[in-house]
């Protein structure tokens, strides 16, 4: 069977499974729709949270990023897992004890302020829409690469599927499909890693294989460091190279951690369990299941890095592997030869010898011109045309696109066709599970917080359910449109989402739980300070050419400074402002009390 046939089979099977589960889990009341009736067992919630959290970015891009960054790739690993410690210890059990439906709902009730509720609501919507656009795009890319349908058609198919199971089953449907999607995505990630580790080092456990020796007797990581030095890249395992100095690694890891703990689509998952004890245990199970992928990703990254050099560097046109040809058509990797007919892949220190580039955001026409000029330049011996390599280097497009690594690694290692197809099904599961969780946050923020709590408190159960279904349906369509016409700033937008979650939600939630004295004014002032600082710094440094005036911290790490400012403003104002009302104080006291039987 061909890869494509296997892919059709896997995608068809998994999609039918998701629809079947959604049909079994359809709901008739808002409690079922928003929080799955609060009856999800801790173990299942752990799996659902893991699938909810691990997005197309975790599955498709993260190992690729680590592969390029080496040591510094650890910021994503530490950041995206360390946040769960904060979430499980500081937020989840207390928020579950309060028993709300959404995060803005808690903020509004704890601080007894519609302004606070509205600020939280807008942040939740913004963060979720930023995120969901990337997921839908991921669905489209997987369809385009493996099933050879148009990216837009792929997005439309993904939309239709999410539309059916999200409107039918709400949180309940989403939860049980996420449990299934977890197993699809983890199998799709771990099986190829095991196969590759075995092939390269004879060790079936990739985490061990990464620290073992190649058949030549040299440890994998030593070999990588060696290749990197020889070809002008920074060492793979050395800490703090280039723009990733110690301060930026620290700030980025910290901002990602705090941002993770403040992401509304992850927090709401803890509302779906039976009691506080189950919320604590689902925090553990969630990180345990996430760790299975996050501990494997660095191994995949190291092996992929090795394969890239082995299969590309020094090869002639005829010797290049078939996966290179497939991906060359997408423009994610291109080769501009220096005339010797052998591909050379070099790092920044030997930039003038490098021949591997990516098209990136360049229009296809512009790249075709660069390539034609380069060919003329080669033929005329440098008299006419221009050196395409210099042009591409100047445009910052050296090296190939990190996104192809996870999808291409099984092909590099020449694994069986069914494994390659499994990876496609896994990528779809990762994107769909995260998209559905985000869409539910969008729907519940609008239907519960805006419509029911702020606009029409007298709405009946049936009306609320109808509004919820309509908004989630609309949100799917909007997300799909973002996927088909992606705003050109998706990657910066994700940094934005984490920065905002870190500088707004996290402090306001922690103070709401641990600061009995904090009332509405300090909380709102803190949130506004955090958001304004973080948003203006990110926009300024990314779009308006500001210096990185805050100790040279980059946009990805600035959320942690925003968080500190938020806490500082709120804590300074707290003693100056009136105490929270009796009702709010009782809510805090209730959260802190241990749970009865």
């Amino acid at each position: 069977m061909t890869v494509q046939a296997w892919t059709f089979l896997f995608v068809g099977l998994t999609f039918s499974l998701y629809l079947f589960l959604a049909w079994r889990a359809r709901v008739r009341d808002t409690q079922g729709f928003y929080v799955a009736g609060r009856g999800v067992p801790a173990l299942a919630n752990g799996m659902a949270t893991a699938a909810d959290w691990m997005s197309a970015a975790s599955f498709l891009s993260m190992a690729g990023l680590i592969s390029f960054l080496g040591y510094a790739g650890g910021v994503y690993l530490i950041g995206w897992t360390g946040g769960f410690v904060l979430l499980a210890l500081l937020l989840a059990p207390y928020l579950r004890k309060c028993g709300h439906y959404t995060v803005p709902d808690f903020v509004g009730d704890r601080y007894e302020s519609s302004a606070a509720r509205l600020t939280a609501l807008l942040c939740a919507l913004f963060v979720s829409f930023c995120y969901v656009a990337g997921q839908m795009r991921g669905v489209g890319i997987v369809f385009a690469r493996f099933l050879e349908v148009d990216v837009d058609v792929g997005v439309a198919i993904g939309m239709a599927l999410v539309f059916v199971y999200a409107t039918l089953g709400g949180m309940k449907g989403i939860t049980w499909t996420q449990v299934a999607q977890y197993w699809v995505l983890i199998a799709a990630f771990v099986i190829p890693a095991v196969a590759i580790s075995w092939q390269l080092t004879g060790e079936p456990v990739p985490q061990v294989g990464m620290g073992s020796e190649l058949s030549s007797g040299v440890p994998v990581l030593d070999k990588l460091d060696q290749i990197h030095r020889d070809l002008g890249f920074a060492d793979y395992t050395t800490a703090f190279v280039g723009s990733w100095d110690q301060l930026n690694v620290f700030c980025t890891a910290a901002a990602l951690m705090v941002g993770t703990a403040g992401l509304p689509h992850v927090i709401v998952r803890f509302y779906t369990v039976k009691n506080v004890g189950a919320a604590r245990w689902s925090g553990f199970f969630a990180l345990f299941f996430i760790a299975l992928l996050y501990l494997t990703a660095p191994a995949t990254a190291a092996f992929a890095r090795y394969y890239v050099f082995e299969s590309l560097h020094g090869k002639t046109e005829a010797e290049l592997p078939s996966w290179y040809r497939t991906w060359e058509q997408t423009g994610l990797v291109v080769w501009l030869d220096d005339g010797d007919g052998k591909l050379a892949y070099h790092g920044a220190a030997q930039q003038e010898q490098n021949e591997v580039f990516r098209v990136g955001a360049l229009p296809a026409v512009e790249f075709a011109e660069i390539r034609a000029d380069h060919a003329t330049w080669l033929e005329s011996g440098g008299e006419r045309g221009s050196d395409g390599r210099a042009v591409m280097t100047a445009k910052n497009l050296s090296g190939f696109d990190a996104d192809i690594l996870v999808l291409a690694t099984p092909e590099m290692a020449q694994l069986a066709a069914w494994i390659i197809a499994l990876v496609a099904a896994g990528g779809l599961a990762a994107a769909l599970s995260t998209a559905s969780g985000l869409l539910l946050v969008i729907s519940s923020s609008i239907a519960h917080d805006l419509y029911y709590r702020m606009l029409r408190p007298q709405a009946t159960e049936a009306q609320r359910l109808r509004v919820s279904r309509t908004t989630i349906g609309l949100a799917v369509v909007v997300a799909g449109i973002f996927g088909i016409y992606p705003p050109g700033f998706v990657s910066q937008v994700v940094a934005f989402a984490f920065g905002l979650a870190a500088s707004s939600f996290f402090p306001v939630l922690v103070l709401g739980i641990f600061g009995k004295r904090t009332s509405a004014i300090p909380a709102i002032a803190g949130m506004l300070t955090g958001i304004t600082f973080t948003a203006s710094y990110i926009l300024g440094t990314v779009y308006f050419g500001w210096e990185r005036w805050c100790f040279g911290i980059g946009p990805q790490g600035i959320g942690i400074v925003g968080m500190v400012l938020n806490f500082a403003v709120a804590l300074v104002l707290t003693p100056l402002c009136p105490r929270p009302s009796q009702k709010a104080r009782e809510l805090v006291a209730m959260m802190r009390e241990p749970e009865g039987d």
Partner: protein
Amino acid sequence: MSSSPTPTATPITTEVQRANARYWRRNLFLTLALLVGWFLAGLGCGVLFAEPLNEHRLGGFPLGFWFAQQGAIIAFVVLILIYAVVMGRLDRAHRRQVARLLAEDADASSASSATEGDA
């Protein structure tokens, strides 16, 4: 029969409140201790001490690199596990204590009402 505890500050409610306050202090202490572990494992060994740790090796890994890409994650999972287990124990101990306080109080009040009956 006659004297059921009133909801205001009777000895038994202050006892339960004291038990609740103790529970909260223990909870805070545990949380803080685990957060120190969180900081040391992730941002400490993974980032702040990465360079000196890279001088040492763990099998085929430089140690700082291993912490940044493996060790910190394993530590995080263990920290949450400890939290769930210890808090579960704390919950059960607290529930037993409250039940004992209430039982003692019920015994005392039934004993006092019995003596009143005799007199």
